[in-house]
């Protein structure tokens, strides 16, 4: 029964408020099998992707508020997925800076083509995020100025501050990095890398979180959210394109330049295969998250239109 309750927690809150009690009563009469457990998992996924399910008991206004909040949350999740994707994309860009990879891209056409596709996808995703996000950021600033609230403005400024802290940390690492340091070379390397990746990931999390918090606490018009859906679709498609191109890049590198692929030319001297796999996994997680959020957002937008019509 415990597993059932854990699985039920995967369902959206609105759905649980409406069906949980009778659902549990049904499951008490018939213990679930392993296949039923899988069915329950997919049922939860289905309910997450269709947020209008379970809202029949709500008033029109409550339904509107619920769908509006769901659409906003979905768009913000896509933004967070994009930030995570950027980190993986940045790792890919750093890895392919080495001359050996540039040479491979020139020698092997598929390696070169897939690399160009990654660049094209990155530009398209950035433009899409800017197109959808900038009007919302402007609305947050306007809303903060009208209501004379400094909080949202500070939250929007946080990414700049986080970036400055990241650059400051890099500067300090560079300044203290000299041969006469008391740490062993291995200890120094672990410290440097730990600080670098720790600061980078913390800066990304804090930046994405503060932007999301600012948007969630500001008055954003329904029109702006509707407008942001198309750029979100483009951003998600671009992420999927980059993911496919990155996978193709790795596979074609394995065939075209096996020694390079099997070498240690990954991030900070790690294995190329390991770095490539980690990048692909991170990109895949971010893309799946963005795609699921997009489906949920589209469903919420459709329900929102039905409520407002």
């Amino acid at each position: 029964m415990k597993i059932t309750q854990y699985l039920l927690r995967l369902y959206p809150r609105t759905w649980r408020e409406r069906y949980e009690e009778e659902f549990l009563a049904m499951l008490e009469q018939r213990p679930i099998s392993f296949l039923d457990g899988i069915d329950l998992f997919f049922g939860a996924l289905d309910a997450q992707l269709h947020p209008h399910l379970g809202t029949t008991g709500m008033s029109l206004y409550e339904r509107f508020v619920h769908m509006f909040a769901t659409l906003r949350r979905s768009l913000l999740t896509i933004f967070c997925a994009y930030v995570g994707f950027i980190l993986a994309g940045w790792a890919f860009q750093k890895m392919t800076e080495y001359d050996d990879f540039k040479e491979a891209a020139q020698t092997h056409s598929i390696v070169g083509l897939s690399f160009h596709l990654v660049v094209i996808g990155a530009v398209a995703a950035l433009l899409a995020v800017l197109a959808g996000g900038l009007p919302i950021a402007v609305a947050v600033v306007r809303s903060a100025l009208v209501q004379k609230r400094r909080g949202p403005l500070l939250l929007l400024a946080t990414p700049i501050l986080a970036f400055a802290i990241f650059l400051g940390t890099m500067f300090l690492l560079e300044a203290f990095h000299h041969p006469g340091n008391q740490h062993s070379p291995m200890g120094q390397m672990v410290l440097d890398r730990g600080l670098f990746f720790g600061t980078l990931i913390a800066a990304a999390i804090v930046s994405a979180g503060s932007v999301c918090f600012a948007v969630a606490r500001s008055e954003i018009s329904e029109r702006l959210l509707h407008f942001a859906v198309l750029p979100s679709i483009l951003a998600t498609i671009s992420m999927a394109l980059i993911l496919a191109a990155t996978i193709t890049w790795g596979l074609s590198l394995r065939d075209g330049a096996p020694q390079l692929f099997a070498g240690n030319n990954g991030i900070v001297g790690s294995s190329t295969i390991g770095t490539w796999l980690a990048i692909v996994i991170a990109m895949a997680i971010a893309t799946v998250l963005a795609a699921l959020s997009l489906m949920r957002g589209l469903s919420a937008r459709s329900a929102l239109r039905n409520v407002t019509v």
Partner: protein
């Protein structure tokens, strides 16, 4: 239990509507009934996914809860919809039988 291949009529929503055509039922009774008359086991996630959709579409409606269990019944729209679907199945079946008879 043998599983009948009901094609598109094995869609969970149609099975649930057909089950409720007999009488109002709660979730567990619907599941049992469908297993009996169609030989199809609906998982709990599938069953409640379909119930939620049918309710949203106004094809079924909940009745007051009996302890923790909540029965559902067909609405007038649900009856008309099921009628249409079953008539379509009947037409399809009689056409198929006529063609078989001419072989």
């Amino acid at each position: 239990m043998d599983t009948l291949n009901l094609g598109r009529f094995s869609d969970p929503p149609i099975l649930i509507l057909a089950s409720l055509a007999g009488s109002p039922k709660h979730g567990y009774a619907i599941m049992e009934d469908i297993e009996t008359f169609a030989g199809v086991h609906l998982g709990p996630g599938t069953l409640y996914g379909a119930i939620a959709r049918l309710e949203t579409q106004g094809l079924i409606e909940p009745l007051p809860a009996e302890e923790r269990r909540r029965p559902y019944r067909l609405t007038a729209t649900g009856i008309a919809f099921l009628q249409e679907q079953l008539t379509s199945l009947e037409t399809f079946a009689s056409m198929g039988l006529q063609r078989l008879a001419s072989i």
